[in-house]
């Protein structure tokens, strides 16, 4: 595939470069891991295959060989050769086609998976792009016009589906898709569930109330490192200088200006600002799809409930995988 227009910020990502944070190397990886995983499964890839992550304005790609692809994530107005390209399902796209991923109509990030995966070299067991230290992915940077992306080897399953779709035309979508009950793009205002930390208790009582009652607006300065939120500033009752300590995805940091920042995939591995809450794992994908100016309400959740919700979600994902495997193995009529 050749990049004709790179869009706003298109990077190669997988599920992240874990295990290196003690050396200051952030996990990076797809912000919406659910969408990236589903896109991969739709085309017969492992969840860990590399995909393209696009932000707000998608890329335009010239497809040079017959390809089976799937788009998943935010609702983008994608087209192939000028015709609408359906999301959330596998689509056969013949050589010479032009895929334009368009703009986000809902959500913020779109994932494009190609059967076989985006083939860039693995660095520290991952193909994710580390934009800060400029390594991984496509030469450690966002895609640019003129980049050519190699594609890995398809599974026999995916090849079979592709051959079947190919008989239907130059562009052909499979008759199965991801159910909106499993994946749907959140609309503003979003309710994001959080687990409170000890430092939350050091906020002034009125700030503690405010944290849950006021909507926070996603600022335009948000990026893959973190989402900056704006609202009425939160204040500490007594502020203790913190020694830097490890951070996690979803940590809600409160710098001295009182405006929270949700730390995400490209965050620094250690931070010195107090962390007042952590987003429940199951809601991280919601945050990843929150667009600039979206509103966020925080809601407290207990540890056990958060862990159970995650496991329930994971069971649903496994069911979906079984369904997709069955569909990929069933030849089309």
């Amino acid at each position: 595939m050749e990049v004709q227009d790179a869009g706003l910020l298109t990077t190669v990502q997988d599920l992240g470069r874990w295990g290196m944070q003690h050396l200051g190397i952030s996990p990076t990886g797809a912000m919406d891991t659910c969408a990236a995983t589903l896109a991969n499964w739709l085309v017969g890839n492992d969840a860990t295959a590399a995909v393209l992550e696009m932000t707000l304005m998608g890329a335009t790609l010239q497809v040079e060989t017959d390809t089976l692809m799937a788009l998943c994530g935010g609702k983008f107005a994608a087209t192939v050769n000028g015709q609408p390209l359906p999301l959330y399902r596998p689509v056969f796209v013949s050589a010479g086609s032009r895929v334009a991923c368009g703009r986000a109509e809902l959500g913020a990030r779109l994932y494009l998976a190609v059967s076989g995966g985006i083939d860039v070299p693995e660095v520290m067991n991952s193909r994710s792009t580390n934009l800060t230290a400029r390594f991984g992915g496509m030469a450690g940077r966002a895609l640019q016009r003129g980049d050519r992306l190699s594609i890995g080897e398809r599974t026999p399953q995916a090849q079979k589906l592709m051959n079947a779709l190919k008989r239907r035309g130059k562009v052909a979508a499979a008759p199965f898709f991801i159910s909106p009950s499993l994946y749907s793009v959140p609309r503003s205002p979003l309710v994001v569930r959080v687990l409170l930390t000890e430092q939350f208790g050091q906020l002034k009582p009125e700030s503690q109330t405010q944290f849950f009652q006021q909507p926070f607006t996603v600022s335009a300065h948000s990026n893959r490192m973190g989402y900056r939120l704006s609202g009425k500033p939160l204040e500490f009752q007594h502020y203790e200088e913190q020694l830097s300590a490890g951070t996690v995805n979803g940590a809600v940091q409160l710098p001295p200006d009182g405006q929270p920042i949700i730390l995400l995939s490209d965050r620094q591995t250690v931070g010195g600002y107090p962390i007042i809450a952590v987003v429940a794992s199951v809601d991280l994908q919601k945050v990843a799809q929150a667009n600039v100016h979206s509103q966020i309400y925080f809601q407290a959740i207990a540890l056990q409930d958060a862990q159970e919700l995650y496991r329930a979600w994971h069971r649903a994902m496994r069911l979906c995988k079984a369904y997709l495997d069955w569909k990929l193995n069933t030849l089309l009529p």
Binding site: T132, R134, A245, V248, Q268, Q304, H314
Partner: protein, 226 residues
């Protein structure tokens, strides 16, 4: 010592309120033990000055299980020997071309440039932790006479290898990034090598000794490394 949950997929072990060489060694010992004999669902751990953050996989374990494992390990590891750090000598060129802030800093500290260099190369610095950006060492041991404020407005691009001081710390920028530290020299050593194993030349617990080199030596070293 205290263990508490941190979100739904991590826990934090707090070893004390203040940091000390003993606490940092203890953190490293526990970290090493987690890496060599990980519990089911262990993803990774991030050591810091007083805390160790442990990340686990929710699909494989629960907080209660992870906490149980970690507390068992903490009881056992009181006998574990902390690993001895290596001493790594790092050449630094303090020549004006590489040290944009050295003259002003020396004047501010009421020292001569040579005195700043002597003071900076004198201690054996402890790599207290690695973080902030890949391979960035938090070095402890800066002589008090060199404590200096950081720039009010950070530079947009600090060249790779720049050696700086700020507050009680000294450090080395592993690659070009924005930064607000006072730059007093540059090393030709590449601290971050994404394709090497390990990718960071320095590890938490190592000791760093700076030694001065000339501009010529800097370029010779850089050429050899390339």
């Amino acid at each position: 010592m205290k263990i508490c949950s941190f979100g739904d997929a991590a826990l934090v072990i707090e070893f004390g309120k203040e940091t000390s060489p003993e606490i940092r060694q203890r953190i490293r010992a526990v970290m090493a033990q987690l890496q060599t004999s990980p519990f089911k669902g262990f993803i990774e751990a991030i050591p810091a000055l007083t805390k160790l953050t442990v990340l686990y996989d929710l699909q494989q374990t629960t907080y209660l299980e992870a906490e149980m494992h970690v507390s068992k390990l903490l009881n056992m590891s009181s006998a574990a020997k902390p690993h001895a750090g290596r001493t790594i000598e790092i050449p630094v060129c303090y020549a004006e071309a590489f040290a944009p802030d050295l003259n002003v800093l020396a004047a501010y500290l009421k020292l001569s440039v040579q005195e700043v260099i002597d003071l900076h190369t004198q201690p054996l610095y402890e790599v207290a932790m690695i973080g902030f950006v890949p391979a960035f060492p938090y070095l402890i041991g800066l002589p008090e006479k060199l404590y200096a404020p950081r720039h009010a407005t950070p530079r947009l691009a600090v060249p790779a290898g720049s050696v700086g001081v700020a507050g009680k710390q000294t450090g080395i920028y592993p690659f070009e990034t924005p930064g607000g530290w006072q730059l007093i020299g540059r090393t030709p050593v590449k601290l971050f090598r994404p394709n090497a194993e390990p990718p960071s030349v320095l590890q938490s617990g190592d000791w760093v000794k700076f030694y001065p080199i000339s501009e010529r030596e800097f370029f010779e070293y850089a050429q050899k490394a390339a």
